[in-house]
């Protein structure tokens, strides 16, 4: 990790709040709340939250504010901004602004669902692998290696080519492709915790294994968990939008930011807005989530996840 990270954190006096309590089980009842509170004191986190909030407002309330239906023919195809259509019309003569306002929700929910699947399963696999320390660890990690050997976008395309452009499939595959990446990080973080006395104590009093993994290990790896959530959300947005942009996500005539870019990319020279608006929105959203993630990583000292995808 970079020293600057330590400096920032130390300057803010964070180390006491974030360090897991040695020896005892979790004294702090909600360690993740503390990390988030500390992260929110950093300027970059605030900017990130503001950006993400703006995009969520556009995506959620946009459809209510849209002046036209997303499928209605309003003007000459690829015509420029006019009084009726402030950002002009797209390649099929539909209102660019209305389609933009309608098109954000799909990216958001798909990326969020894929992130929850990937991080949820990844955390489970990583913690179980770290705790088992036997053949199960090997099997889980070797299986992860196979999934890891596919570039994420290619795994998504392979699934789409076999089963078809189904939204649930894209969510599932993006989630699955995150799984080994999350599992590796969580396993690494949990390996130290497994050696601590309170785990041995829990074993000695005969706690159930599932209790130990999720009751004792999990609360002690909240910092990497939060960072993974943010990081995977950023990549999920990029992947889900990329699949749509390649034409394999939502299908016409749906309004979706990725699909908008796909439909209008060839007329980019005559109608820039129909591509620029969704590109800006997706770009801003990923930058926002990454700023939040960086803020969390800095607040939770000891993690710098800027070097691995």
């Amino acid at each position: 990790m970079s020293d600057q990270t330590v400096d920032t954190a130390v300057n803010l006096g964070l180390e006491a709040a974030v360090e897991p309590v040695p020896g005892g089980a979790v004294l702090q009842r909600r360690p993740w709340l503390g990390i988030l509170r500390n992260a929110l004191r950093l300027g970059r986190t605030k900017i990130g939250v503001a950006i993400v909030a703006l995009i969520i407002v556009i995506a959620v309330f946009g459809p209510l504010a849209a002046p036209h239906s997303p499928t209605e023919f309003v003007a000459v195809p690829n015509s420029g901004p006019s009084g009726d259509a402030i950002f002009g019309a797209d390649a099929l003569g539909r209102d660019v602004f209305s389609r933009f306002l309608h098109g954000g929700l799909s990216v958001l929910w798909m990326a969020a669902a894929a992130t929850l699947i990937g991080v949820g399963v990844g955390v489970g696999v990583g913690l179980v692998a770290a705790y088992s320390r036997n053949w199960l660890d090997d099997v889980l990690m070797r299986t992860s290696d196979v999934v890891l050997a596919f570039p994420q976008i290619i795994l998504a395309l392979l699934a789409v080519s076999a089963i078809g452009p189904k939204l649930w499939l894209i969510v599932l595959v993006v989630g699955v492709s995150h799984m080994p990446r999350v599992a590796r990080v969580m396993r690494g973080a949990a390996q130290e915790v497994v050696e601590r006395d309170f785990v041995k104590a829990a074993e000695a009093v005969g706690e159930k294994r599932s209790r130990i993994v999720f009751g004792e290990l999990l609360p002690n790896v909240t910092s990497p968990l939060l960072v993974e959530l943010g990081l995977r959300m950023t990549y999920s947005i990029g992947l889900v939008a990329a699949v749509s942009f390649l034409g394999f996500g939502l299908q016409p005539p749906a309004a979706d930011w990725g699909l908008m870019i796909y439909e209008n990319r060839l007329s980019i020279t005559v109608q820039t807005w129909s591509v620029l608006l969704p590109v800006l929105a997706i770009g801003l959203l990923t930058v926002g989530t990454n700023l939040i993630t960086d803020g969390i990583a800095r607040a939770a000292i000891g993690i710098d996840r800027t070097s691995a995808r």
Binding site: M1, S2, D3, Q4, D7, R44, D145, V146, A149, F150, P151, Q152, I153, I154, L157, L158, A159, V160, S161, A162, I163, G164, T234, I237, G238, L239, A241, A242, F245, L246, G247, F248, I261, R265, I268, T269, T272, V275, L276, V279, I282, G283, T286, V287, T289, N290, L291, D294, D304, T306, S307, A308, R309
Partner: protein, 317 residues
């Protein structure tokens, strides 16, 4: 060769074999079977039967797998379902174009990001360090198609008109015969991987610059240039090499979207077409190629680490 190296190689081969199972299984997941998926529901039974025969769909699954994997190993990847051309013929020129793109991108990105990392580390906590830290954080977040379209708007269509927005090549023309078409796609890849390598280089360099042997070298009166490039950089570069190899591996998937943005005639754009046509032989071949590159680059990352880490180097003998 040492035991450690052999172990890594064996693990790589094992992984490739498991990947081949997954890639092969994708065909089995086709609704109906591959023949009807290609021809559509209205196809005559005769044509379906002929195609089934051509695709060996009447054999058992195990025989089908062995035939396919045997073909992959010997370099024959079957026949494209969409064009009836041999897949190897279809992809041979495109493989060269994609390799050219990745090569150019890595030749620019790796030295650039190492230098950038060193430069940032030497100006640690000054304004330029904070600015470049923010810029790399933003770039690292952006999906590659956002970067690519940004470059198109900036350098091809809306602001400047320096490069073509679409990488058109004459039939039979190779990308390196018209290098201008590769500039923006390569620049997109460079911008996508540079933040990752330069950030890890910066972090590692900051750590090394605080070490005792760098202080020692300075106290000995060596010039700052010697201290940095002879003593600090060779030690700081190990994690950067690893990350660079992983970023090269990432490019195996990254080229797909980037080639599509620019309609660049490489295997990535071919994959997108093939997915649209459900041309499974092409999809399988490109997927195997990308996974192969990915596994190979991971191996390179491991071997490079062994080579440059004295402790592991001795252990490896």
């Amino acid at each position: 060769m040492s035991k450690l190296v052999w172990r890594r190689l064996a693990l790589g081969v094992l992984t490739l074999w498991l990947i081949s199972l997954v890639v092969f299984a994708a065909v089995l997941a086709l609704p109906g079977d591959a023949a009807t998926a290609i021809l559509g529901r209205e196809a005559t039974p005769d044509r379906v039967a002929a195609l089934r025969d051509q695709l060996h769909l009447n054999d058992s699954v195990v025989t089908q797998y062995l035939k396919w994997v045997g073909g992959v190993v010997s370099g024959s990847f079957g026949t494209s379902a969409a064009t009836q051309q041999p897949v190897s013929e279809l992809l041979s020129e495109r493989v060269g174009n994609s390799a050219f793109l990745v090569l150019i991108a890595s030749l620019v990105a790796i030295p650039l990001s190492i230098a950038l990392g060193v430069w940032m580390a030497m100006r640690r906590d000054r304004a330029v360090d904070h600015v470049s830290s923010t810029v790399t954080l933003v770039l690292a977040a952006l999906p590659e198609f956002v970067i690519g379209i940004g470059l198109v708007l900036l350098f091809a269509t809306s602001v400047f008109h320096w490069f073509p927005a679409v990488s058109l090549l004459a039939p039979g023309q190779k990308a390196w015969e018209a290098p201008k078409v590769a500039v923006l796609p390569a620049a997109t890849l460079v911008l996508a991987v540079t933040p990752y390598i330069s950030r890890i280089m910066r972090g590692s360099m900051v750590e090394v610059l605080e070490s005792e042997y760098v202080t020692m070298a300075r106290l000995k009166g060596l010039s700052e240039r010697t201290v940095i490039w002879r003593h600090a950089v060779p030690n700081a570069i190990v994690p950067a090499i690893q990350v660079a190899a992983l970023q090269l591996a990432w490019m195996a998937g990254g080229v797909v979207v980037v080639e599509f943005v620019f309609s660049y005639p490489g295997i990535g754009a071919a994959l997108v077409d093939a997915v649209g046509n459900r041309d499974m032989p092409v999809v399988q071949t490109v997927t195997m190629l990308a996974a192969g590159v990915y596994v190979a680059m991971n191996l390179v990352a491991d071997l490079a680490t062994i080579l440059v880490t004295p402790k592991l180097r001795t252990a490896a003998r």
